[in-house]
């Protein structure tokens, strides 16, 4: 029986046995090392962010090779926002935070894509983060006026920029003689300058009212005192001397203007007067150079006085060219090229010419190079340093020693259109290589400041687009346009005078749309300023003083008369000033509008 019991016990023990599965599947996967390069953007800024009230932050994060699956935003080390989107916005309320600097951190979790088990279960991630400084500033400071300056017939008022994000608007006020006028409402915080075109003189007080989203505050008042109106020009017509006064747009207590000679109130020197606020011309009988004239605007409480002296130009320019953005006029004289500073009123650099046949060809309109040469040599000068010069022979440019340089036009990026006696070449002065060469003779070519367009003036006029190494004709005029030039400050704008229409045109070379002069219609144009479109044209009336020239602006009638002493047949425009360049001449200042 014991054996039976033993067998049962043995069987029972064996019945408890259980299979134990064996084996492992070991997969070799490389452990990821370098975290991804993540791009963070928060409100398009890296700098401190000013927060004054509940603020919406716009974020975006990206990394090129990894998959972002979680973004956390921490403000002041506390989790403020969690999202799975790689872009979006969230708001933070600074209430409960004292004014001061805090940290806002964008923490990005992205998959390693290693393929490991942890990666698949999002338990293995790259964590990258970026921090921004957030300045909580719940105070509200109004902007202050920083300066008031006189401009052309107006006042220019400048104030601090409101830099906090809760900006709503600026309101710009003027107080004159107890009467308050709101001049502007400005909703762009970046605008910090405005002009007061209606300022007529005397004391005016200005202030700015700054609005944020919930309140407004007023700046300190800044006062300005000036005498106005001004004599802006003096001219002559039909034997009558005319004194031009700045146009009044507003003046509530105007009585009359009165004009005196020699800064006196002597009745004997009283030249004329007008009682019409809209009449900006006072006629008088005599006028003399070197004399000072006084204009008084008379109002009940005060006289506002301005002065103007008629002077003569002190400098003569011959064979001169100018660049618009520099202070210099370059001229040829006494076998030298001179750099003449307009502000210093003297020559500041000079270089001896190659020989007597040397001529001044072109100055790139901004700052690049000045070129001059004789028939077989072209020399490029750095306008700011005559020691920097490069010399090209006609063989370098034309590939022909027998060809001669006739005319050069240079773009701001160093592309030169060079007319030779036998051929025409477009040449890259920087890289010293020929862009294109044509074995045809061109007499007058201008290249645009960006080197994209080229106008060829012969018996007819053709506008080309320089496309790679070829010229594509985009417009043709059947007549010879005159006074043609590209505007150096507006891209691809061509200004020209069209004799058949007696019109000055501005044409956009891209759209070929034309703005035409509406009223100027000069009959005898002799110079046009490519920037302003100011046209100097010969006035047929003669008198004992000399020739007279009208100045008109494209699209706007500007019938002022300037007096010149002698004949002027060559002109330089420089920053809206016209310099004659032949013989004895006057400096003619283009009047303010």
């Amino acid at each position: 029986m014991k054996y039976i019991q033993l067998a049962i016990l043995l069987f029972t023990l064996l019945a408890c046995n259980e299979y134990n599965p064996q084996g492992d599947y070991d997969v070799e996967i490389r452990k990821p090392t370098n975290p991804p390069s993540t791009t963070f953007n928060l409100n398009d800024t890296d700098g401190p962010i000013i927060m004054c009230r509940t603020m919406d932050f716009t974020y975006s994060v990206s990394n090129p090779n990894n998959e972002i699956f979680l973004v956390e935003i921490y403000f002041n080390n506390s989790l403020a926002y969690t999202t799975t989107s790689t872009y979006g916005s969230f708001g933070i309320n600074p209430q409960g935070y004292a004014n001061g600097s805090y940290q806002l951190e964008l923490k990005v979790y992205s998959k390693t894509k290693s393929g490991s088990l942890a990666d698949k279960l999002n338990a293995e991630v790259y964590v990258t983060s970026k921090k921004w400084e957030v300045i909580v500033d719940k105070n509200f400071y109004p902007v202050q006026i920083t300066s008031i300056k006189t401009g052309s017939g107006m006042l220019m008022i400048t104030w601090d920029k409101y830099t906090k994000p809760d900006f709503s608007k600026y309101e710009f006020y003027r107080v004159h003689k107890g009467w308050t006028a709101k001049l502007y409402t400005i909703t762009d915080p970046n605008i910090t300058t405005k002009n007061d075109y209606t300022y007529m003189g005397g004391q005016s007080d200005y202030y700015i009212k700054t609005y944020n989203v919930s309140e407004s505050k007023v700046s300190d008042t800044k006062s300005f005192v000036d005498s106005y109106p001004r004599i802006v020009d003096i001219g002559e017509r039909y034997g009558m001397i005319k004194i031009f006064i700045s146009k009044l747009k507003y003046y509530e207590n105007f009585r009359y203007y009165v004009l005196y000679k020699d800064n006196t109130n002597d009745l004997y020197n009283r030249l004329g007067e007008t009682h019409n606020v809209n009449d900006t011309v006072i006629n008088t009988q005599s006028l003399a150079f070197g004399k000072t004239y006084k204009l008084i605007l008379r109002i009940p409480d005060e006289d506002l006085t301005s002065f103007m002296t008629i002077g003569k130009a002190s400098k003569t320019f011959s064979k001169a060219i100018a660049t618009e953005s520099l202070d210099y006029i370059f001229q040829m004289k006494d076998n030298h090229v001179y750099r003449y500073s307009i502000s210093q009123k003297k020559a500041v650099d000079s270089l001896e010419l190659l020989n007597a046949n040397t001529d001044l060809f072109a100055a790139s309109l901004n700052y690049m190079y000045l070129s001059f040469g004789n028939l077989s040599v072209l020399q490029l000068l750095n306008p700011l340093d005559f020691n920097q010069k490069t010399t090209f022979t006609s063989n370098d440019i034309f590939g022909d020693n027998s060809d001669n340089f006739k005319m050069v036009s240079i773009s701001n990026n160093g592309i030169a259109a060079i007319c030779g006696s036998k051929s025409f070449v477009v040449y890259d002065l920087f890289n010293k290589n020929i862009i294109l060469k044509q074995d045809i003779v061109k007499t007058f070519v201008k290249i645009s400041p960006d080197g994209k367009y080229l106008v060829d003036v012969g018996n007819s006029t053709v506008l080309y687009e320089l496309n790679g190494t070829s010229l594509i004709e985009i417009k043709q005029w059947t007549e010879k346009l005159t006074l043609i030039d590209f505007n150096p400050k507006i891209l691809n704008e061509l200004i020209y005078y069209q004799p058949s229409e007696s019109k000055i045109n501005k044409m956009d070379c891209t759209s070929l749309s034309i703005t035409q002069s509406t009223s100027a219609s000069p009959k005898y144009p002799i110079a046009v300023d490519p920037i302003t479109g100011l046209v100097l044209h010969d006035n047929p009336y003669q008198d004992e003083v000399g020739k007279r020239y009208d100045v008109s602006e494209l699209g706007i009638s500007y019938p002022l008369i300037h007096i010149s002493a002698v004949d002027m047949n060559n002109f330089i425009f420089h920053n809206s000033t016209i310099y004659s360049s032949m013989g004895y001449s006057l400096k003619l200042t283009v009047p303010n509008k």
Binding site: M1, Y3, I4, A7, I8, F11, T12, L14, A15, N17, E18, Y19, N20, P21, Q22, G23, D24, Y25, D26, V27, E28, I29, K31, S114, G115, S116, L117, A118, D119, K120, L121, A123, E124
Partner: protein
């Protein structure tokens, strides 16, 4: 279940003790192969649902099993009861530098039922016994899941059970030395696939499929055969105790 089997066994021994002259114990130690197609399919589904490419590294291999019978000899025929114990299992494994996962399926069964043997060569010491049996088989199923990622460890066990019928057929040869004999056997078992139950609810996978155990397969191994003359045994026991 084991208690019931033991109770039936004790009853049988008591019954045999009162009636028989010859009682035999037959213990078999062998290997069995198991089809387990349902559970293998289940492994495939597990693998397909995993985020990584895991593998089955142990797939219900042939495994040791135990089988015991108590038989009453009547002329050339042995009739008795049979108890058997089977176990096998499988493992799905995946290990990389970041962690590991493991799915172990362990199936263990105990079966009980009548068995009948026929001695077809009685006059020799080398005997041949064709046998046939039908057992009720009770299966314990356990699924051990283990996931280790970084330093995080999680595991879970699920227990299910199944009951089915197992039909056994085979032949055994024994060489006898007086009351003990040694031999080997070979046979085949057919199982009618047992549905697995979890807390008396039929286990159904997410895709609607049901999971079955299937112990069908070949059996072979060694056997020990004890033959006792119970009357003599009682006598002997009396003498010993005296």
């Amino acid at each position: 279940m084991n208690r019931k089997i033991l109770l039936i066994l004790v009853c049988f021994i008591t019954f045999a003790n009162t009636l028989s002259a010859q009682l035999c114990f037959n213990l078999k130690l062998g290997k069995g192969t198991y089809e387990m197609d349902g559970l293998k399919d289940f492994n495939s589904k597990i693998i397909n649902s995993l985020p990584v490419s895991a593998k089955v590294v142990d797939n219900f291999p042939k495994a040791n099993y135990w089988d015991g019978s108590i038989l009453y000899e009547y002329k050339k025929l042995y009739v008795g009861v049979n108890l058997s114990h089977h176990t096998t299992g499988s493992r799905i494994s995946y290990i990389d530098y970041s962690g590991s996962l493991k799915y172990d399926q362990i199936v263990t069964s105990n079966s009980f039922g009548p068995i009948m043997k026929l001695n077809i060569k009685t006059n020799s010491k080398l005997k041949f016994y064709p046998y046939i049996g039908l057992n009720i088989i009770n299966t314990k199923y356990r699924l051990d899941e283990e996931l280790i990622v970084s330093n995080q460890h999680s595991s879970k066990s699920t227990d299910l059970d199944a009951t089915s019928l197992l039909f056994n057929l085979g032949i055994e040869t024994v060489y006898s030395f007086n009351w003990v004999g040694f031999g080997f056997y070979a046979g085949y078992s057919k199982n009618n696939q047992g549905k697995l139950y979890l807390d008396n609810e039929e286990a159904v996978l997410e895709d609607g499929d049901k999971v079955y155990t299937d112990w069908t397969g070949f059996r072979y191994g060694l056997s020990i055969f004890f033959e006792f003359d119970l009357k003599n045994c009682r006598k002997n026991n009396t003498i010993i105790s005296e």
